[in-house]
């Protein structure tokens, strides 16, 4: 199907984009890679009057090293994030999760910030951003401010971005030397996660010194599996310890039932996948 008609603008800078967004009001939509928005427009699930294409703003693209953290531009395509050496060295979990997103064609256009702003509970980048305590830098007419990941995801497809605000970049603290794994469960190629587990661990001489675990699609927002983390830290990275810790994976979750899985099955998956993800991230 063809989208409903809209006006289209291509701002050249963040300031222009923010002004366009403000002037156009609530009926405008930001277009980054379009890999979530275009399917929605084509099915006419949305019909914005104006599309603001942020795909040509150089300031929103690329990855840089800022000392104790990396900065990933919101409009950096998945393909670039997944291959980037800084990301692989300091935030491996994000690279590994990005590799599981969709398929190569979608990863060429779809962007890091687009996936986070879209906030699909089945999206694979939300749990890693939460687990790694990423910080979201947003801009509106009244300037720029930062939102921690723990406050960014509000509900299904809903973030703390207010109308007229643009996600500029995401700061990710460095986890240099940490191992990581993203365990995704889906039924067919290029499908969304039925459940997913993002794990990053720092193992020191066989002992788990630090652990961070996030869950995909176990609630309307990504969930930090703190009880799992607490059960791991300070312990030897043995199969028994990891299995016992993984049994806490459903604490604080509120999974839904849908055509892919009912809530009970998701809870089962969360434990099994947590065990696998942490095992891989500790070895």
């Amino acid at each position: 199907m063809i989208p409903a008609a809209f006006d289209y603008v291509v701002p050249a800078s963040v300031d222009d984009a923010v002004r366009e967004l403000h002037d156009a009001g609530e009926d405008a939509k930001v277009l980054a890679g379009g890999q979530s928005l275009l399917p929605v427009l084509r099915m006419r699930l949305a019909a914005p009057s104006k599309i603001i294409d942020i795909g040509r703003i150089p300031e929103l693209k690329g990855i840089r090293d800022e000392g104790d953290h990396l900065v990933i531009g919101a409009a950096t395509p998945h393909h670039e994030v997944q291959k980037n050496q800084l990301v692989r060295d300091h935030a491996l979990l994000i690279a590994l999760a990005t590799e599981t997103v969709a398929d190569p064609q979608v990863r060429h256009l779809g962007t890091f910030g687009g996936a986070l702003a879209h906030a699909d509970p089945a999206g694979d980048l939300l749990a890693p951003a939460l687990a790694l305590d990423a910080v979201f830098v947003v801009a509106g007419m009244d300037g720029r401010h930062e939102i921690p990941a723990s406050e960014f995801f509000v509900d299904y497809f809903t973030t703390a971005l207010r109308p007229g605000e643009l996600l500029l970049e995401v700061k990710v603290p460095k986890y240099t030397g940490w191992r990581a794994h993203y365990e995704k469960f889906n039924r067919v190629a290029q499908a969304w996660s039925i459940c997913g587990v993002a794990a990053a661990c720092r193992v020191d001489g066989g002992t788990i010194a630090e652990a961070r675990v996030g869950l995909t699609n176990m609630s309307s927002v990504p969930v930090r599996a703190r009880a799992v983390e607490q059960a791991l830290v300070g312990q030897q990275a043995t199969a028994e310890v990891i299995k016992a810790a993984a049994s806490h994976a459903v604490d604080g979750t509120l999974p839904t039932s849908d055509g892919n899985a009912d809530a009970e099955y998701r809870e089962h998956l969360a434990k099994v996948l947590t065990e696998r993800a942490v095992t891989a991230a500790c070895s």
Binding site: G34, R42, D103
Partner: protein, 177 residues
């Protein structure tokens, strides 16, 4: 909105509605019907083309997003009537039945071989995970891509590296907005 693109080595300028999809532009304006539409959900990959040298699903890109960019379609692969090694390998290995998925499969396979000139079977399968085939069961598609990899000189993998565009005097020049 007025856009200028280079498609299969030829430059085109056209007035398009912002909501026009790239695949619509290619098929309905430029007559490049080699690129097909197989689904309405961005899943099947039949519409795959290269945008500035990277594979994309042309049903999920607006024509206006391609303004100023270089596009290669399946129609741009053959060289003077001689099939591209990937096209030849699909033919030789019976990698198609109805053929509907083939343009997208070949364009995505080309993208894969640019990044990984010698993929093993698993790498071919994951490289083609965004392309669905309802006929072949994929077996011969994987075989064809591996066969092409062996035969392809590195130059053929770069088939869509920007060349000097030829400016067209195409019907698109006179088409309405």
């Amino acid at each position: 909105m007025r856009i200028t693109t280079t498609v299969d080595g030829t430059s085109y300028t056209d007035e398009v509605e912002p909501r026009m999809l790239l695949v619509q532009y290619l098929r309905e304006r430029l007559g490049k019907v080699g690129t097909v539409v197989g689904c309405d959900t961005s899943n099947c990959g039949a519409c795959t083309v290269h945008l500035d040298g990277q594979s994309v699903k042309s049903c999920s890109v607006l024509a206006v997003q391609a303004d100023g960019r270089e596009i290669t379609t399946i129609e741009g692969l053959a060289d003077d009537g001689e099939l591209h090694p990937l096209q030849q390998a699909f033919h030789d290995n019976h990698a198609l039945q109805c053929g509907f998925c083939t343009p997208g499969m070949i364009m995505q396979a080309l993208d894969l071989l640019k990044e990984n000139p010698d993929p093993d079977e698993d790498e071919v399968r994951s490289g083609l995970e965004g392309n669905l085939c309802r006929c072949t069961g994929y077996q011969n598609i994987v075989k064809a891509v591996r066969a092409a990899a062996e035969q392809m000189p590195s130059a053929a993998r770069q088939a869509d590296v920007p060349q000097e565009p030829v400016t067209a005097s195409m019907p698109s020049e006179v088409s309405q907005s």
